[in-house]
Each structure stands twice: as C-alpha cells, then as structure tokens.
C-alpha cells in the first residue's frame, strides 16, 4: 500500500504502534471505511486537548477493537469478552484520580457482557463507556449482533434476522437510561461530518465527566462496518442514515453531569501501626486463667444439640471460647451439610491439651441434649463412661444408656426462672463446668463481658446468674 502522509497525529496516540505485529506500525488494523478509526481519533484528540493522556487508562474489549491498546498512549488493559465494565470498575476504584475508558462493541457490551454493563451503570462507576454499535460481529466475520436489524442478513442470519426466532435489536441507550445512577447517556453516529462533530462533543463530555469524577457516562456510537455489511464506505454511511437511525434514534437521553455529585473514594490504610490499631492489637490482653489440675474430663468431645433457636450454636461457641481462655486447643463445628437433616441443630466442640485432629465429634464423651430428638439421636453414639446431660424441662423420656453418667437438668426451667429463656445456653455452660470440672464458674463469669460485648448490663447480669445457677444445680444434685 502506498504510504500516506500523516499531517499530525494527536498525542493521545502512540507515535509508532510498537505493540502491533508486522511491518506496518504507522496505520491501524481497521478496514477501510470502518468507524473505529474515527472514534479513536476523537478520543485521542480529546485526551490531548484536556491534557489527560497520562492519566487515562483504556480497557480494550474483545471484538474489532481488541487491539485498541496498539494505538492509545495511555495505560492499557486488554480484557476478556464482555468484561470491560467489570475490569474498569476495579481499575477506577484502584486509581480514583485516573480517567477510565471502557471501549466496547455491540457483541461484547450488549450480548456476552450485557449484565456487566448494566451493573456498572447501575453502580454509577466513574468511567466513560464508548459503545460502538455497527449491528454486526465484525471481528469474527459478520455474525448476528444483539443490535442486528430486523431482516438484516449476517453469516448466522443468512435469511435475515427473524424476530420470531432471534428477537429484536436491543436499544442499549434506552436500557441504560432506565438506571438511576448514570449521569450522561447519549447516542450519536459517524454517518457524516455533522454527526461526527456531535460525536466529538459527546466524547469530550464523557471524558470530562470521568475526569471530574461525575460517575457513569455512556456514549453509543452508530458506526460503519463496510466489510461486515458488504458495502463500500459511502453506502455504509448511507445505510446508517437510512436503516440504523430509524431503529436507534440519535440524541441525548440524559445529561445530569452538572448537578451530579463528585465521587470520592477513601484512601486505604496500609501502615503497620495503623492496621494494628484498627484491629486493637494493643488492647488485647493475654489470658491469665490457670487450668484446673483436677478436672473430671480432660479431653472433651462434645455434641450440643436441640431445636434451632435454643442457643445450641452459642452454647458451643461460648464453651470453645472459655476453653481457649484456659489455654486449651479448641474447635467448634456447626451441624453442616447432610448433618443438618433430622430437625436438630447441633454442633461439635473439642477441648483438649493435644492438637485436635477431626473437628467433627463422631464419638462424643459428652452430650448436651436440649430436646427429645437430640437425646435419641446422640446418646447412641456416646462412648461408655461419658457424661450425658439432658434438658428435663422439655424431655419427658429417660435416657436408655446405663454405661454413662446421666445429668438430668431442667435447663430451660432454670432460664425461665431467671426471666429469659434465652439464657439457657449459659445455664448449660455453668452445668458443663460443674460436670467436667474443667472451668471455674467465677472465671466464666469474668469472661462474660467480653463474650457479650455491647450487651446492656442487665443482660450480662442475667447471663452471669445463669452460669452460676447451672453450676450450682449440678453440684447440689449430683456428686461430681
């Protein structure tokens, strides 16, 4: 091809297209008569005029503009098909002072990436989206796009787009305009000089909005694809005017750029001391609680079980927490997966000196059964010599095991006497301490403020009382 003289290239473009393979590093890969080159130039000129070339990051999509990064002298990310708005979202969040441009075609934006563009628009991400609508898949050789017109022939609609099987061309601007957040939504065309000038205005407005952190701007550009349409350049411009514009009306659908508030993003806290401060490292005090040397059960494999709402999970968590404060290895595992079948909520708790292997308790040496199904389910898997505590307030039957120690405790009843059924967890915790000899009730009471942070004094008091009542019930009624 004869080398043409370039009078002046906007500074938004790289002088020599070094990323482009092959010898022709001074011209684009686009076909003659294609609209991409015009839109690229409008963007590159605007970036130069507004002195934004260095601050701009352009996201290249999949489609004919997959190689947009060959040309723009900006930061560039080439991304997966349809995902430019998702990538641009993170790029904009990471670099709030930059100008982020998502450049996409109709297949990329309106078909495979349909959800991503809607969601970025709906979040009002600070970015300028340039959407090139040429009603066809150019890069892959002329297949149907979501914006292909009724009756239009493509390589995958050889008989013309049939709306009964293929649906109707999607009016993307109108869709974007249904969201609350976007600040600027417009559709322009490259069909002639007058419309190119209008496109220029739209491009510049969208870029300035991004610079001014106004949020989401969307510019749909009707663009020629002579190769895909099997037309020459002039016929293509004519076809936009006659066929596309009636289906995709031109004009500004929304412009609230002026009144839109600027988007401010926080500065991440990364410093060593600041991070420690937020996590409260210096306020943390290591536990000084001493282990009881004469515990009845030293290695606890416990199942706590009952109806949902009986505080089953919190009983287990409190016990694990107290065990941790005593310096034991602890684990807590909620009923999980298939274990959730059968109408009981249950959890596994292990408290022991050694490293804990399996966290699921399959052979408990202690169970706390808060309702009848739990007693029936778990007493059978207990190891001989273990401790079985059951809630006699709600369970009428007797345990069948005679090779374990039975503790019949009116757990719910004690809580009700204290005035709130919800403290039954702490009644269980107190009773557990008495049965196992592992914890001292006063130590548990001392931990209550940290276990129930933010709760009013009255609630703390009631939980303290519950621990002591549970503990005392066991020591008064059983020899432990």
């Amino acid at each position: 091809m004869e080398k043409k003289t370039v009078l002046r290239k906007p500074k938004g473009f790289i002088d020599v297209y070094k990323h482009k393979p092959g010898a022709e590093k001074d011209r684009t890969h686009y076909c003659p008569g294609c609209g991409h080159g015009i839109l690229h130039k409008l963007i590159a000129e605007a970036l130069e005029d507004f002195d934004l070339v260095e601050k701009t990051i352009i996201i290249s999509p999949v489609g004919c503009s997959v190689f947009a990064y060959y040309y723009f002298h900006t930061g560039n990310l080439q991304v997966a098909h349809g995902r430019a708005p998702a990538v641009a979202t993170a790029v904009s969040r990471a670099n709030p002072d930059s100008v982020v441009i998502s450049y996409q075609g109709d297949g990329d934006l309106a078909a495979i990436g349909g959800n991503n563009i809607h969601q970025a628009a709906n979040r009002g991400e600070n970015m300028a989206v340039f959407f090139v609508n040429n009603a066809i898949y150019g890069m892959t050789g002329g297949q149907m796009a979501p914006t292909t017109l009724e009756g239009q022939k493509t390589t995958t609609t050889p008989y013309g787009r049939n709306v009964k099987t293929d649906g109707y061309p999607i009016q993307v601007c109108e869709l974007i305009n249904t969201f609350t957040a976007p600040v600027y939504v417009t559709r322009t065309s490259l069909q002639d000089m007058a419309n190119i000038r209008k496109t220029r205005t739209a491009v510049r407005k969208a870029i300035m909005n991004a610079k001014n952190k106004k949020g989401f701007s969307f510019v749909e550009v009707l663009s020629m694809c002579p190769s895909g349409w099997k037309k020459d350049s002039l016929q293509s411009q004519q076809w936009i005017k006659e066929s596309m514009v009636p289906r995709f009306p031109l004009g500004v659908l929304r412009d609230i750029s002026e009144e839109a508030e600027t988007i401010e993003r926080p500065v991440p806290v990364m410093g060593h001391e600041e991070v420690k401060k937020i996590f409260g490292y210096s306020e943390f005090k290591a536990s000084t609680i001493q282990k009881n040397t004469e515990a009845n059960l030293e290695k606890i494999s416990l199942r706590v079980s009952g109806f949902g709402g009986q505080g089953i999970m919190s009983t287990g968590i409190v016990l694990a927490n107290v065990g941790m404060e005593y310096g034991y290895n602890v684990s807590w595992l909620p009923s999980y997966g298939p274990e959730m079948r059968g109408g009981t909520a249950n959890c596994s708790v292990k408290i022991q000196e050694d490293t804990i292997g399996a966290s699921e308790v399959t052979e408990p040496n202690m169970i706390i059964a808060m309702n009848q199904p739990s007693l029936e389910k778990f007493e059978n898997i207990m190891v001989p010599g273990g401790a079985l505590m059951y809630n006699s307030t709600l369970i009428d039957i007797e345990p069948t095991r005679n090779d374990v120690d039975i503790y019949k405790v009116p757990i719910t009843g004690i809580a009700d006497e204290l005035g709130d059924t919800r403290v039954q967890s702490m009644v269980s915790v107190g009773a557990f301490a008495a049965i196992t000899g592992l914890f001292d009730p006063e130590e548990i009471v001392s931990l209550i403020p940290s276990l129930f942070t933010g709760k009013p004094d009255k609630v703390l008091k009631m939980n303290e009382e519950a621990v002591l009542r549970g503990y005392n019930y066991v020591t008064e009624n059983f020899s432990v």
Binding site: T74, A90, N95, R265, F279
Partner: protein, 350 residues
Amino acid sequence: MPRMLMKGNYAAVYGAILAGCEAYYGYPITPASEIAESASALFPKFGRTFLQAESEVAAINMVYGASGCGQRVMTGSSGPGISLKQEGISYCAGSALPCVIVDIMRGGPGLGNIGPEQSDYNQVVKGGGHGNYRSIVLAPNSAQEMCDLTMLAFELADKYRNPAFVLTDGVIGQMMETVDLPEPVSEFPDKSDWAVKGTAESRHLINSIYLDHDDLERWNRELEKKYETIQKNEVLVEEYMMDDAEIVTIGYGSSSRVLRSAVDTARENGIKLGLLRPITLFPFPVDEIAKLPEKGIRGILTVEMSTGQLVDDVNLALKGKMISDLYGRLGGNVPSATEILNKISELYGV
C-alpha cells in the same frame, strides 16, 4: 498479639487484611459466603474496597483489573463459582497478574450440595481454565492456617506474578478455632515496572494476546519455567509420625485432620501409621512422596473427599514403584477416623 476464636472463612479475611489486600471482589455462595460477609465488614474499616460483584465472572474480572493496577486483591467462592471464574483466572495467569482466590469446596457436580467435598482438586490444581498455566495452590487445614496461608498466598502470588489459590473445604471454612493474629505486612513489592496506575510512568500494557505463534510459544515456555521454579522452591508438606511409619496416609484439608486422629488411635493400638499432608498442592510434594518406597513402607492410603483426584498425583510421584490405595467419601460425608482405620485393617491386615 490478639488471640481470637473464629471461623476459617473469617480467618482468611483477617489474613488478607494483614497481608495488605486492598480490595475484595466476590459473589455470595455457600459455604464461602462468610468470606464476602466478613470482608464487607472489615475492608471499609481500613478504607479498602469491598464490592459485591454482579456475578462470579464479574468478580474475577474485577480482580484482574485491580491486580493490573498493582493492588493486592482477593476473591472467594466455592465449586460452581470457581468453574465460572476459570476463564478470568486463565486471563490472570496469561497476563501474569498476581491475585488470591479462596475456594471453600462443596459437593458437586452441578449444583451438588453445600456439604464439604474436595472435588475441586483437579479444576484448581491442574489449571482449570484454558491454556497452559498453573495456579499456586495452598491447602490449609485449620483456622490458623486459613489466616497464615492466605498471607503466604499474597506473598507467593506477587513473587511469581501468578494467581494463588487457598483451597480448602466447607469443614475448615465453617469451623471455629483459635487464631493468633500475626503482625501485619507493611512492605510491599515494587510493581512500578508493570502495574497501570493512571500516571505518565505507569502507561503499561496488561495483556495476554500474542498473535505471533513463536511469540506465544516463547511466552508459554517462560510460564513453564516459572512453574518449574515454583515446583523447586515452594513445596510445603507436614509429616506426622512418619519417622518409623510402616503405613502412610496422605490427605489434605479436613481429610488430613481426620487422618491425624486416625494416626493417634492407630499408635495407641501399636499400629505404625504416619501422615503425610501436602500443604501446597501445586507445587506438589513429589520428592517427599517419591521417597516413600525406599523407606520400607508397606502401604500407602490416600484419603480424599473425592473419587480419586489427589491419588492421581500421589501415584504419578510414586512412578510405579508403589501404588497408593484410595479411600474417598463424597456428597458432603466426611470420613471418620474409625472407618479409615477399618479400611487400613482391611487393606494391610493390621
């Protein structure tokens, strides 16, 4: 140092904050949702980004974008979500973008269930998406390791400019244990020669396209070399009661916790059982396993919550000198120490 009782899922997020992760992009899925939930609570406290993405696919592409800008960034999910993310992970690998992905495995295939399984092994350890690539894969088996290995994942991801997985199952994610919070990381690698920051000097290109066949082959060879370096330098393995072991069990994640219980019980009964636990799944502890036949081991039993994914790598490492047996439970069922010991007794007559 603060000591807290927390779920494995939470511990991963604490680890991320301490490792200097600046952004979390994720989509909710059981049993990994607490990762997103705790990230949504914690990240804003540090002025860092939390965003609930519109899809798993969007989340991994946001990760791609944040990483391309030089941020330490994380996402978390479970089986079906990881399947959806694979294309984006391939893009990250192809563009040499570091990132951390936490996978809390659940039952599959398809929707499966939310019980714990280890059936994402192949799709995570073997690459998973299209193209010749590997992800670094760390396999924690406790809440403490969920924190520590998440921090290590960020280090390794940056060191090799490669995606790194924290791969575990629902049990480890849902379980609460004691976690001692380590010191926060405050020195970060210099990424100025490739990260795009919206400045004159950072006008780089993040890209995985190599149109020229020779260029793409060369790039693949570079990646291959990187994976060889990772294989050589980064293997982590835990050995328990291996010195005099006559029978060896191999497992990772929650299976390895059950195996530890099995080893303890076996030892009480005079059976010389040992445990070899891969902490890194890629790189795989090939050398450590290859040595077993020379140690006079009578039998090797791989235990996994899948139908034989880990065991393939074990047998590749053994190079035919021995063949590992397999015991697997599925569908959300976790093997018990007793059933593993029964299997060992049946296989090896002990």
